[in-house]
Symmetry: D4
Subunit: 170 residues, 8 copies
């Protein structure tokens, strides 16, 4: 599945460090994606045509990240009928304005909101969606969940053996 | 598509008035669903077996609503690899505790959060997901979006004609 | 000045009771306006063309009201170079999400935010702007400010005479 | 237009780093301005006479920045009939008190609030206002918006070429 | 002590129901006061002259109540060197904006803030201040504190006897 | 176990409707208790002696409820070495001040905080504590948990049969 | 009392620095404990079996720490009838989501919440509980409280002697 | 006036850096004070006897600073009839819990709250109170206010001359 099926878009290149977390997850699962900088406020026409054309170009989902009074995720959801996942970007001295700007969408225009800066979970949500029609991907996902579990069990074993050894040194 | 493909679950029967909004949307789109009361805190074993068995029984997505320190949506997402959508239920005198209890899931366990009490948008998000593999549903969805647009255009025409006539009488 | 120079737009007819406060102020000052229902999410193309065409049609300012994850004011400001004033609409059980959705616009796209539900102050801000090039309007405005002052002085005189008589009966 | 038409005022010299953002924008557009330190609490008479005399001295707008329980913007708006733009100054360990102190002005005294520390947007709002009567300035503004758009397009092109190259090195 | 020694001022007659609580306390203690409606925003000159002249007219303290972006208490404190007590007025659908507008005064201009709508405690604080130089008033105050204590002891006795009888009937 | 082993104390008789929820739970479990009105601010000496003497009088735990700037729970914990459970009382127009006044106790003085107005859960926590040394009570508790589970299962069965019949009529 | 009677569990090894505060207190009091990493989301089955088996293995209380949308404390309380104490773990850039995820448990499932990051107070609460049936531990606790008091008295003596000497040098 | 007339008390020596701001102001005005560390939770008896004895020892006001769930200011106000001023101490990662713990005191027990960490304003409030009966102190206070004004005027002159020279270098 190396065709581009997911769009990762963000309002500014300063969001790239956060949003690259989505790309890393999709790389791991071999899901094809594209990365774009598209601003709801500075390039509104490009946003509109990107969103409106996404389905036709074969995309299955869009992950949209933005900070401040974030309009990109919600406006994207208004221009496509694909599932859109919002990543509220939260920086130092920010409050939850990006979260509030995405979480209270009006009835009729659904938007899936994941944790602030949680681009990895946005991608994992897309993987869950794509797995519905893709048994191989579903299997990869099961392996991933198992790896999370194994990591915790490993840590648990370590603390049970000697938890003081695991304290961060200061 | 009248098979049951969506589970609508909630922590208490008092959530039913909010969560019935999801059922109404799925009815409109002819998407099969089931309604269940399952409490993360009071029937944790049932929750676990419901979530773990959902995929095997043919479900494609789970919409989970709960209020207060809401654990049902997140715990459900931990026991299934289906997409799970959280509806934070918010009541009088409540604050945003149900939202906070769902929106900050740890890396690895994705949860799609929609507006507080936004069960209709949760269902519309599921419709977007299901439309990916179902052209007929996709067409229905396009018609729905068009109907939203038509409603606003109709209201706009009315206010342009005589906006004072549209004020709520007091 | 009975030409239409101000656009009063809102996302839904349910905002009309709040936004009519702006119309009442403009009526008082004899400033021409139009009232429109335009939804950022449900009629995004209409929003874009309305905003982009506003200056050409002779508008001098746009007052945009919306609730929830309000995108109308900010998106309007992205499609016009007129001054845009945001009225965050706040309802029962709402929190400040409309305010947060407007107050943190990115650098480059200014938006003037007034109080939640403060449509009257939005219109008065427009009157201040229009007065810059209109001495007659400026004079009206001075009279208005004087009337505010007179109202307070009258109330003060009343409480000085007998404040207990002015208590609301219960 | 090199006459002084905008007053940039602030409550303390510690606000200068934030408020200089407004001066930078006005410099770019060739709009004349003056910078003043005027404290609502420590020099209330000076504040009053500055605001009351602003229109007579040819000012067209006042940009007022203050932190904490910020009274300067609102009190200035009470002493002039010019448009006043509030810049809530927010510092480390501060919460939104400056925003709350400006955003809930009583009916009758309009104040245009821009983002916390958003002095540049305050100035751009003034540019939008001044452009109403100044075609040359309007043209400059259009060029500025175009430059914002070009910047995003350039960044988009770069990430499309090689987004990993644009990640901040750590 | 029937001379007027306390000024009870408020921004609008709609604050009278809250602020009358201060008058009731001062009546009980026989402390002379005056009630005035003075708006920081609508009658700023009157506010200034009231505050500046208060000490000369024999006042010992000013209790200032206001809601929304409340500037009256802080501005009053800037124009007098008497102790000023702020009563943040909080109404339905309001948030804590009046509190934030008073509690973060800049260094140098002290303001004593009491509970939202706590006009009675504002007056009791003034009584504590006036008692410093007035043994008779101090004695009255001691009796008042004793009466509070007696009320609780009486209630305690009643619940100990039969607490179910004291439940509000529904 | 009909001896008095739990103290249910509250700052004012207006807290009785909330706090009676604790008594109802203890009645159900046959745990002996006493109900007292003791104010940290109005009867501080009584509070101190009540708390200091509680252990000697055979109490095993104290449930303390108070609203506003609630000092009763924390101060009680300072005067006894029994487990103290705080019930933050939250009323209309209140915010979370009672919660904040209890939840951030300094290191060294533990306080167990339960939900705002959650007096029933406070009592259930005490039942868990008392069950440690009382097998009969532990058995009762197991039955109680089972009854909670049974209630949810019954509701689930009902919604599975006909969920529309369970909607609240409006 | 060197048997293991307290379980200290946490959702991730990154919580260990906070949660080790509980271990330090229990060490001081000679109370036996075990440290485990158990994730509600990544190892839900292990969580369930740990909680369900705790009582049988002789535990008397469980201290559960987790951050973000913290489900570990509340879910643990659903699977055991032991007293469970929640430590909301709060990190940089976090808000109070862990607190909200624990403090609003539904009626029937009690959870004792202590301060954010207050693992030491969680352990002290457990000590208070264990002291009910253990006079030697009660005596140790009394000595501990006395040591707190002595520390403050010593600091008080020092500031009374020369408070300027105690200022942190900068 | 070098007798001790003001008590500056705080809950912990870690509050000393904040609270020393009050001492600095009182030193400037020549008002006698004492500095004490008194903990509401760790030395409650000492707190009670300090507060109860303060008036008898000649104190005229108490300034009480504490962080977290701050009980010291409110409890002190319950044990004395002197004016008590609360300084909510706010540290990194703290929220406003100390403010909420002081600002919502119950009716009958007044507490004057000043800004978080605003110990200097607490002392200036005391100076305003003491000035009521002390013309020399009143004169000092007038000079102080004048010096604040002069400082702002001086800064204003500097920015008017060359504001760019006053920017912090970076």
């Amino acid at each position: 599945m190396s065709d581009v099926v997911v769009g990762i878009i963000m309002g500014s290149k300063s969001d790239l460090d956060v949003m690259s977390g989505a790309a890393a997850v999709l790389d791991r699962f071999g899901v094809g994606y594209e990365v774009r900088i598209i601003s709801a406020h500075r390039t509104p026409e490009e946003m509109m045509s990107y969103a409106a054309g996404a389905e036709g170009r074969g995309l299955k989902a869009i992950i949209a990240g933005a900070g401040g009074s974030a309009h990109l995720p919600g406006m994207t959801a208004s221009h496509t009928s694909l599932p859109v996942i919002a990543v509220p970007v939260k920086r130092d001295h920010h409050d939850h304005e990006a979260l509030w700007s995405s979480i209270k969408m009006p009835s009729g225009i659904p938007l899936a909101v994941v944790p602030e800066n949680g681009a990895d979970n946005a991608a994992l949500l897309v993987v869950r969606v794509l797995s519905l029609g893709d048994p191989a991907l579903a299997q990869q996902q099961a392996a991933f969940v198992e790896s999370l579990r194994a990591g915790v069990l490993r840590d648990d074993e370590a603390v049970r053996a000697d938890w003081k050894a695991m304290l961060p040194s200061t």
